[in-house]
């Protein structure tokens, strides 16, 4: 019962990892469940709690929601795609 209720009031987004974020998490993407009203920043915090290694690049990456730049205050919606894009400097 509780979990059903939980499902109804939580939304699911997809988090995409690029470059260094991919190395640090060991994955290209993951699904993340958050409560409605969560901001991009809230999602990022949750991802970093899961992968503390990401802390090293949290201030130097581009956050994109559904392939568009997003301020950290944007509220995410169900099925949104949040991309963590740190810069690559190799060549």
């Amino acid at each position: 019962m509780d979990s059903e209720k939980e499902e109804r009031i939580s939304i699911k987004i997809k988090v995409l990892f690029f470059a260094r974020a991919r190395d640090l998490t060991g994955m290209t993407d993951m699904s993340l469940e958050v409560s409605p009203g969560t901001t991009a920043l809230g999602c990022l915090d949750k991802v970093i709690t899961k992968f503390p290694g990401l802390e090293e690049i949290r201030n130097c990456m581009v956050l994109a929601l559904n392939e568009e730049y997003t301020p950290e205050s944007t509220v995410v919606k169900d099925r949104d795609e949040l991309a963590l894009i740190p810069p690559i400097s190799g060549g």
Partner: protein
């Protein structure tokens, strides 16, 4: 030469080859010198006669294009959306490519081929064998020689009508403004964080569009910065990544074709900007994921009013740029020379030669190789035990067991590729009770250099 009757021994052939190669190098050197002399004379002539009629052979038939140009660039001219106008724009434009490596190689090949009026190349490096899998502008014959010379020679061989300018120097705040001033468009094909900030700032100071590409591993990124009021590199990344997050191709590896693709796309964007056609990739970032064959284009933020380089309040000046310490800002060196840590006291280290001697004498010891497993698979020292640094903490018992199988006074040595991770490992091991652990200074590279020249390096 008819060598029908000749019977040469291998050593005679080697000798003659060596002498011919020396002579060839001298000739190449002389050609390059003469070309650059000629180039200067041409530049002077042009500036003197800028307003006078060009030489007869060069007389433009249509607009600015000579008969040779029309034939050479005919496939461009046939494109309705490109045509004479865009081609003329290219011919009147100049582009500076900073870095003649994995990105710069394909970019330069296309920029020279497509008919830019002038192409500048900046690099201070020499061609190495381990560059050739991706730096396709260079050939084996140029190993050990300047990348700029090598790239310039290839560009001239493809298109002798383009003026190729060689800048055989590192791009630094001291020379950046003077070099960049002479060009319309800048292509960032470098391989390190401080250079990326420096080049972007310099473009902001001088108002030049920047075609920025990057590649590492199996991923690539591409953006046009500082174009038509769009953002600069600092707008996007005001805070530089920490040193630990700055990876280099020399450490992390790169699939050769990945910078190849990004470098080609950089040439494409440079052509669009110079030709004034299409929509350059400004305000957007292209992300290439080679493994999954996906290209994503992400809309990025616009110019930041608070940006330290291009912001409203404090646009960067030439003087501020000259005095800015990019190495300090990014905590990483402009040159690509690898980091050299010095974490341990002298008595916690031995040289590769000392290790070799101890090994020959049969000293009881355990050798731990702390490189990642896929490095260990490339090459390793005999009888070494691979425990990657990242799993050292969890696998201490294996070290105790290995030591337990030896005599009581067995030594513990740690090796890695270059001698940095081995120091980190020894520091950790000493803290964990392995008080006699020592690292091999300079790692396997020093082994190859000082002990066994045949030992493979990578």
């Amino acid at each position: 030469m008819d060598s029908g009757g000749e019977r040469l021994t291998a050593s005679e052939i080697h000798t003659e080859l060596a002498s011919l190669q020396t002579a060839k190098a001298a000739i190449d050197e002389r050609i390059s010198t003469l070309e650059s002399l000629l180039k200067n004379i041409t530049t002077e002539d042009e500036s003197e006669t800028a307003s006078s009629t060009p030489a007869a052979a060069e007389t433009p038939l249509t607009g600015q294009l000579t008969a040779d140009m029309i034939y050479r660039y005919s496939r461009h001219l046939l494109l309705p959306s490109f045509g004479v106008e865009a081609q003329s724009n290219l011919l009147n434009s100049s582009v500076l490519v900073i870095g003649a490596g994995g990105l710069g190689s394909p970019a330069l090949l296309y920029l020279a081929a497509c008919g830019f009026g002038r192409v500048g190349i900046v690099d201070h490096d020499v061609v190495e064998l381990n560059n050739l899998h991706r730096q396709i502008i260079h050939t084996e014959a140029y190993i050990g020689r300047s990348k700029v010379e090598s790239a310039a020679a290839t560009c001239r061989a493809i298109n002798s009508t383009v003026r190729i300018v060689e800048h055989k120097e590192a791009f630094r705040t001291s020379n950046a403004l003077d070099i960049m001033k002479k060009y319309d468009i800048v292509v960032d094909a470098t391989d390190n964080a401080p250079s990326r900030y420096m080049i972007s700032d310099c473009c902001v100071v001088l108002g030049k569009p920047l075609i920025s590409g990057a590649a590492l591993g199996l991923e690539g990124q591409l953006t046009v910065y500082n174009y038509n009021g769009g953002p600069c590199y600092r707008c996007l990344f005001p805070t530089p990544p920490p040193t630990t997050a700055c990876q280099r191709c020399a450490d992390s590896g790169v699939l050769g074709v990945v910078p190849g693709i990004i470098g080609c796309l950089q040439a494409l964007e440079a052509i669009k900007v110079a030709g004034a056609v299409g929509e350059p990739l400004s305000g957007r970032m292209l992300l290439l994921d080679a493994l999954s064959a996906r290209i994503r284009i992400v809309k990025i933020r616009g110019r930041s009013l608070q940006c330290e380089a291009c912001g409203e309040n404090a646009p960067m000046t030439e003087e501020q740029f000259r005095n800015f310490d990019y190495e300090k800002f990014t905590q990483s060196p402009l040159s690509t020379s690898p980091l050299k840590l010095d974490l341990l006291p002298e008595d916690a280290r031995i040289t590769s030669k000392e290790y070799y001697e101890k090994n020959i004498k049969g000293e009881a010891h355990v050798l731990i190789d702390v490189r990642p497993a896929h490095h260990y698979k490339i090459i390793s020292l005999p009888n070494s035990l691979n425990i990657p640094l990242s799993s050292l903490e969890q696998r201490l018992s294996e070290i105790s067991e290995a030591l337990g199988r030896k005599e009581e006074s067995a030594s513990l040595y740690v090796v890695c590729r270059r001698g940095n991770d081995s120091q980190r490992a020894v520091q950790y091991l000493r803290g964990a009770g392995f008080n006699l652990a020592k690292d091999i200074i300079g790692g396997l590279e020093s082994w190859a250099h000082d002990v066994d020249p045949k030992f493979p390096t990578y």
